[in-house]
């Protein structure tokens, strides 16, 4: 009765070997579909830092369109002057100046609307989601306020209303509440006097970006568009003559973090096969062990003299 441990371990090994074979036999289709392609109608922004004059007209336009209270923190309360994206600011123009002062570039910061967003992948309740045209939207009625999106976003975009009892996640949603109904484009692109930021389909914006690069090779940093491939591609694209890393855009690989997580999960879970096989095996072993445990304990006599234990029959009568 006692040590059948070896047999059980053998059984476990055999079971996991079978599970492994079955799992690897399942076509590796999951691997290829890990990369997500942009939807055909995906919309986004193209921001060209060489055209931006830093007028910041887009910032109050964004405030008005989204009904945000202006952040006056940086100006001593006189006028709108946020120093970074925050719960009152979905869009900001920053100026980068190198240490020697010779290299300068403006930078527009807002949600990049990733093709395969980490925030959407991590959001437990689907509060953050992709709209039909690829805009990353936030649904207040599903968000539990766990802030995993803030941990996940490689661009550090989603902001949280830390001083509210009913806090919201604040981030650019490309004016999805008005675009297509009252207006044809987001507030920031509408007011931009130099068309430094334009709104359109991602395919068109990408073609336009490449046209600008080809028209003047060497003008833009490494002759590339930031967001074409970064983190699996973003729908908002950036052009600048300055190293993108210096503008606060992280250096990211072509594979998105969500795709890596899906690969890792698939490796472990095998489409939920692992937990099922594991549970079956564990329940089997436990069933066997439990049977023997009951035989052993309920026939042993060492509790007989316990005066606290009332006779069972009397109790059940």
């Amino acid at each position: 009765m006692d040590v059948n441990r070896r047999d059980i371990l053998k059984g476990l090994l055999g079971g996991s070997a079978i599970a492994g074979v079955v799992a690897t036999a399942i076509p590796a289709a999951g691997r290829d579909s890990d990369a997500i392609e942009p939807v055909p109608d995906a919309v986004g922004l193209l921001y060209d830092a060489t055209k931006c004059i830093g007028c910041r007209a887009c910032m109050p336009a964004c405030q008005n369109a989204n009904g945000l209270t202006p952040d006056r923190g940086g100006s001593g309360g006189l006028y709108m002057q946020p120093d970074t994206l925050n719960a009152h600011t979905k869009n900001i123009i920053k100026l980068y100046t190198s240490a020697d002062g010779h290299e300068k570039s403006f930078m527009k910061q807002q949600c990049m609307h990733c093709v395969d967003p980490a925030c959407v992948s991590g959001c437990p309740m689907n509060a953050l989601h992709k709209e039909p045209e690829g805009v990353v939207g936030w649904n207040p009625s599903l968000c539990i306020g766990c802030r995993y999106c803030q941990i996940a976003c490689p661009f550090n975009i989603p902001k949280f209303e830390w001083d509210k009892v009913n806090p919201k996640i604040v981030k650019c949603e490309l004016c999805r509440h008005i675009v297509g109904t009252t207006v044809s484009q987001p507030a920031c692109t509408k007011v931009c006097p130099t068309h430094a930021v334009v709104y359109g389909k991602r395919t068109d914006l990408l073609a336009e970006a490449h046209r600008r690069i080809q028209a003047d090779p060497g003008k833009y940093f490494e002759d590339r568009v930031y967001g074409e491939f970064e983190a699996g591609g973003t729908q908002c694209l950036v052009l600048s003559h300055v190293d993108y890393a210096k503008l606060g855009l992280p250096t990211l690989g072509k594979q998105s973090a969500p795709a890596q997580v899906r690969q890792m999960s698939e490796f472990i879970y095998r489409g939920f096969l692992t937990p099922i096989v594991l549970y079956g095996g564990l329940a089997g072993i436990m069933h066997y062990r439990w049977k023997h445990h009951l035989i052993h304990t309920e026939t042993s006599q060492h509790h007989e003299g316990d005066p606290a234990a009332k006779p069972e029959q009397e109790k059940n009568a």
């Binding site: 437990p124 309740m125 490689p154 550090n156 973090a257």
Partner: protein, 406 residues
């Protein structure tokens, strides 16, 4: 006093002692601060910000302390899967620490989430995001507490119900007992599966943060490291609780059980360190550990606090002394907790100019939730037959048949 632990006993000691008042008032303070947080907002009570949006509550009370709460899981694997029935007398202690570790972790989580009322939508699986590792953790943890830990922790309570003078209550206790007894293997199998899933996924959570977590900690093997650390810390927590209880309440020292747990904990720790360093070498970032910068110092401190006790506990004279055993296990536990705590705080770097240090209120709340667990532990071991004791003269507080089979 050396004694072989063979059964569970209730401590017949006064409940309202000075330590009880201390822990209970710390817990009460935490709940008061929690109430204040619910009426104002997270920003007024915590040091959290848009860069470091996860702090003590999630990283300490949930990620780190549920690893400490994996004692029930680790001991159950030993007792049942590896058929080491001599660990049966410490099962109740282990399961209670698990329940309290997870329970208080979930309380901390309740105060941490910003929009808790939307948990209502959690009841509809249609809203679950199947790709979200956090959803998996949430579902598995809740299921573990509700379906496994609750059932496993039932026997001491049923026992008391059974002993009541009212025959109706006794009959109910027996009915529930037999229902659990019939289905017990299926609950225990769940208690093996669910922690395996969520303890590894707690590490998997940080994989989504990609390059924001420093390469010494960010690895595709992070779920494995988190899972193994749960075994280590689970065993460590049971050891610490048993050693402390023996010191305080004179339960005798079953050095056979204690040493076996220690040996196992030490060996898993050495294996864990080997896996971590091999993974670093495999990914080609081993040199980062010896840069002696901020990250490297934390990393080496953690290695040191794990390796030194693990190696010292290999020597029999050191681990057969309850005093040194406690000290070394405590250091090892701290090392393990630093590991579980690191990826979301020390090793995490958001873009921009953000700093995080927990506020005083946040620290008090975090301590208070742990104190709540200690308070409940004190009540439980004095009211129910939980702690192990040597066989001896029979006392009224011992576990009774047939409830002691569970």
């Amino acid at each position: 006093m050396i004694g072989k632990w063979q059964r569970c006993v209730r401590l017949d000691q006064p409940l309202f002692t000075k330590p009880f008042y201390l822990f209970a008032s710390l817990a009460a303070l935490a709940f008061l601060l929690g109430l204040f947080r619910e009426l104002t907002g997270l920003g007024y009570v915590t040091g959290l910000n848009d860069g470091y949006s996860w702090g003590l509550f999630k990283n300490w009370n949930v990620t780190a302390l549920t690893a400490m709460g994996s004692g029930g899981y680790a001991i159950a694997i030993l007792t049942w899967l590896f058929n080491q029935r001599k660990f049966h007398p410490i099962m109740r202690t282990a399961l209670l620490t698990s329940f309290l570790g997870y329970g208080t972790g979930m309380i901390a989580l309740g105060f941490d989430v910003g929009r808790p009322w939307n948990f209502l939508h959690f009841n509809n699986p249609h809203n679950w995001n199947p790709h979200s590792v956090l959803m998996e953790v949430a579902v598995c943890m809740t299921a573990y507490v509700i379906f496994a830990l609750d059932v496993e922790n039932m026997p001491p309570f049923l026992e008391r119900l059974y002993m009541s003078p009212d025959p109706k209550k006794s009959a109910w206790a027996m009915r529930i007992f037999y229902a659990i007894r019939a289905s017990f293997p299926f609950f225990v199998a769940l208690a093996f599966l669910l922690p395996s899933m969520h303890q590894s996924s707690l590490g998997g959570l940080m994989y989504l943060a990609g390059p924001r977590v420093y390469p010494l900690w960010q690895t595709p093997r992070i779920p494995l490291l988190y899972l193994l650390m749960a075994y280590i810390l689970g065993l460590a927590c049971v050891l610490l609780v048993l050693l402390l209880s023996s010191m305080v309440w004179d339960l005798g020292w079953d050095m056979d059980i204690l040493e076996q747990l220690t040996k196992l904990m030490g060996r898993i720790t050495v294996a864990w360190l080997a896996i971590q360093y091999i993974d670093l070498a495999y990914r080609g970032v081993l040199h980062l550990a010896f840069n002696f910068d901020y990250y490297s110092v934390w990393f080496l401190l953690q290695t040191f606090m794990l390796l030194v006790p693990a190696l010292l506990l290999w020597f029999k004279p050191l681990r057969s002394q309850p005093g040194t055993l406690f000290l070394l296990t405590f250091i090892l536990t701290m090392g393990g907790l630093i590991y579980r705590f690191t990826p979301t705080t020390i090793a995490f770097s958001p873009l921009g100019n953000y700093r995080y240090f927990p506020s005083i209120a946040e620290i008090l709340m975090s301590i208070g939730f742990t104190s709540f667990a200690v308070t409940l532990f004190l009540i439980a071991v004095k009211r129910f037959a939980i702690l192990p004791a040597p066989a001896g003269e029979v006392t009224a507080g011992a576990a009774v048949q047939p409830f002691d089979t569970l």
